[in-house]
């Protein structure tokens, strides 16, 4: 594309945006709201992810070895666990080690364990298992329960499942909500461009008579959609940047123990998603109109 043509298309697109005033504002508004919700959602989920990452990583299966089983069975169990693909980490904790840990945890009250020693240890040998994906824990636990030499398993049954279900549900609702808004945004942009095509039908007719190519006629409309989408994306980025900065400041002075991702770092991620998405929404909306209403 020639630089002169590019400037011409941009100029025509801008003129048209100004001429369509309210429709342009409405289109930009819907794109901005859609992306603002998406952006806020991202900010929230990034922080929640950071916050829950620790918790999630702490979620593990503790497998107590059946003490009555023979050495061969214990070896078989070890082999099976080592071969399990969904497991990230398999760590053997002997009952002596478990006793040490318990003592440390009890701290000042370690005397409670005074009566016990190497010979008299009520604890059991166990494995600490971590899955590659925390959400897999219930499934993996079910599989492992049938392995030979398993005494019993503990993975916070009944607590872990609802937690994972809830985070999954939130993600789905957010996704559906945003899809709806995105469709609305595309529709509104398409409508704005259709209006532009209508207002400029005379001009388009003359362009065709004097030999403008079809793409020459189409480009200003595509650019119009692109600009509307871009403005609609820049607004939420700015709002989120300042909003998040304020939120971080407030949180640090009030609920200081919650870790937050620094604004600059999170904005990088937000911009990478929001800006291209705005442009895509805009171009998609105008393409629909250009195809359907601009018979060139």
């Amino acid at each position: 594309m020639h630089i002169r043509s590019l400037l011409y298309f941009l100029g025509e697109a801008l003129k048209s945006i100004v001429r369509n005033g309210w429709m342009s504002i409405a289109s930009v508004g819907v794109v901005a709201i859609t992306l603002l919700i998406l952006g806020s959602f991202m900010v929230l989920s990034f922080n929640v992810a950071l916050f829950t990452q620790d918790i999630k990583e702490q979620v593990q299966i503790v497998l107590y070895i059946d003490e009555t089983s023979d050495e061969e069975t214990k070896l078989e169990l070890q082999r099976l666990l080592a071969a399990h693909r969904q497991l990230e980490e398999v760590r053997y904790v002997s009952k002596e080690e478990a006793m040490e840990r318990l003592k440390q945890q009890l701290g000042d009250r370690a005397y409670l364990l005074d009566g016990y020693n190497a010979e008299e240890n009520p604890l059991r040998d166990s494995y600490q298992l971590r899955t590659k994906i925390p959400e897999d824990i219930p499934i993996v636990a079910n599989e492992i329960a049938d392995y030979p030499g398993v005494g019993y398993l503990d993975y916070g049954k009944g607590v872990v499942e609802p937690l994972f279900q809830f985070t999954g549900l939130v993600r789905w609702i957010g996704l559906m909500f945003m899809t709806g808004l995105a469709v609305t945004a595309i529709f509104l942009i398409a409508h704005t461009i259709r209006l532009t095509v209508y207002i400029r039908r005379r001009e388009i007719m003359i362009m065709k008579y004097v030999g403008a190519t079809d793409w020459f006629i189409r480009w200003p409309f595509i650019f119009e959609g692109l600009i509307l989408g871009l403005i609609g994306a820049v607004i939420p980025v700015i709002v989120i940047y300042y909003g998040y900065q304020a939120a971080v400041l407030w949180m640090q002075s009030n609920i200081y123990f919650i870790p937050l991702i620094p604004p600059e770092k999170i904005m990088e991620e937000i911009i990478k998603v929001i800006i291209p998405l705005g442009v895509v929404l805009g171009v998609l909306g105008s393409s629909i109109s250009v195809r359907r209403f601009l018979k060139v």
Binding site: E203, I206, Y209, V210, G211, I217
Partner: protein, 229 residues
Amino acid sequence: MIEIYHLYKQYAQNEFYALKDINLIIDRGEFIFVVGPSGSGKSTLLKLLLRETLPTKGNIKIFGRDITRLKNREIPFLRRNIGMVFQDFRLLSDRNVFENVAFSLRVIGTSPREIRKRVPLTLELVGLKDKAFKNPNELSGGEQQRVCVARAIVNRPAVLLADEPTGNLDPATSMEIMTLIQDINIRGTTVIVATHAKDIVDHFQKRVVVLENNQLVSDQERGVYFNAH
């Protein structure tokens, strides 16, 4: 330059023929009137020449090329060689005279330098040098038609088509516009004018092609409208 062979045009199947078996050869530099009552097929013929529509049967060759076989993306380049003047002027009221004329150069990618050179020359040719920065709405009908002519020829097309160019003008102004179009023809442009203005056709004594009942019924050098009937 323009060759038309056994041209038929039906706008829809089983409908009447808007044009029936038209044969016509127009040489470079000719001036030709296409006359006939409303609905005789004059406008259809011009539309076919501009490739606004395709014939049902037959061929149209322009510059030796069969335009019925042009691909869609080739059509703009045909039109860059054919200027079109309309009965209703079709000027853009949101820009001045200069910009209306420049428009047809801008949209085919002419450089601004070239536009600044050619538009004033063309406006001078049509006698609107002083009105370049007026809005079309401030001009008389005759002046508006001059802008339309300027827009059609600024690109220096080989052919100029005019569909009832004097239809909205009074007799004196009509004569002026036709004289302008004749001047353009004298400079080498092939001109085809569709009209049913008898006095104009009689006055200019050019080749006259008569369409009646959608057929070509007469083709005379230095003809007059009266002879057609």
